[in-house]
Amino acid sequence: MENKTPAIEIEKLGKVYTRGKEEVTAIQEISLKIPEGKFVSIVGPSGCGKSTFLHIVGGFIPKSSGKVRIRGKEVDKPGPDRGMMFQESALFPWKNVFDNVAWGLEIQGMEKSKRDEIVEHYLKLVNLWDFRKNLPSELSGGMKQRISLARVLAFNPDVLLMDEPFGALDAQTREKMQVELQRIWQESNKSVMFVTHDIDEAVFLSDIVVVFSGRPAVVKEIIEIDFQRPRTLDVHKTQEFMDIRNHIWDLLHQEQGTSDEEGM
């Protein structure tokens, strides 16, 4: 249905930056629509510009051309309409868990009683209410990312942007986090744009997987995935899952040949 406004609409987005005297095209010209309430992953080879792409959508770095619209409204600066989660923990080490989650609400001038209620709700949602008085430095990597998710959800953004949020975690924690994320996402019903280099992660989590090719980044293929939700880790074992996974692997591998030597 075309008459519905997409949650995120990217129109002919391009990024060129100068390195010394050279001009390097990081992103060629990408157009993409992310429908309301969908979980969309972007996969691509390392250093293909997918993180840059997400940072531009987040408004953190300037774009060279094109437009980004969130629910129809054009944006080019960071704002609480897009909740961003980073690969490395962006929790403030000088604030405890509770105050970290409350930070955005406090900045926006929300009154304390209401703020506390929201923080409690989200800390319970990510199952870390018991750790509210701890410092981030006292938590494991997986816990930190769950707190980050709670912090982002707390200020109720229109869309979630996630930049390899589980990239620094070990394989087992990663799988647990994926199941957690699916549960939390289903409860919050937000539109998500999720960047990863892990094909399994993308296929397991997403309604739509967008495959980027490397340097400069362009959209290579868009794949819809319609496994029943909630998905369990067993879905990895199905033939259908493996077929999709292998297909994406092939797509990326054609790429690797050209961009691997420069891999970041």
Partner: protein, 253 residues
Amino acid sequence: MDKRLQKIAAIEIVVLLAIWQALASLEWIPAYLSSPYVVGSEMWALIVSGELFTNAASSLYRSLVSFLLVMVLGIVLGIAAGFFKPVGIFFQPIVDVLNPVPKIALLPILMVWFGISDTTRILLIFLTAFFPCFIATKDGVHGVKQVFVWAAENMGASKFQILWKVILPASLPKIFDGLRVSLGLTFVMMFSSEMIGSSNGLGLGFMILLADMAGRTDLMFVSVFFIALLGFLFDRILLAVRARLLWWSENRG
């Protein structure tokens, strides 16, 4: 320093004082090296008469006013220079040229302009102690993780909120490193500015100068001991404040 090293330090000090006293009693060292007993009784006399405190007070006044100026201007300008690139570029050449200069060399010039006054001394102390604080603050700001700033922007923080609630706390560990160096220099320059230039007025440096001219080494030891004590004490205070403010940091010690 942990408890064990503190104990060792205390023992070492007692042993050194005992050796000094023994050598003095046996008259194995020249009389001008005095003895702990004489120095101690002189100090007591100066404490009772209040003379030590009046001198220490005017020295402290100069030091602390300068240090306050260093703290405020060093941190504010350091953050501005670290956060806003043009400000940083503007200050860089001044820092490059002035930082390695022995600021004490400016004393004769300041004396001609402002006389032999507290203005001259405070200015001299400030000029010396400013740079470590400024440079450390700027480095601290540069070391703040980009994602902290981005996360704050993402949550709708204004420029001022980012500076006050993210950049300042995140660079605080580095700022304290700089402040500690600045505080040390404050006392060095307090002493130096009182030593050079004039022999009248109040201050621990003057006490040394006067004692020197009278050949009273015992009084010199008293002043030296007191300057050392003040330096040590204020360093401890700074470390205590640091531990309080940086309770969250791994290197709060």
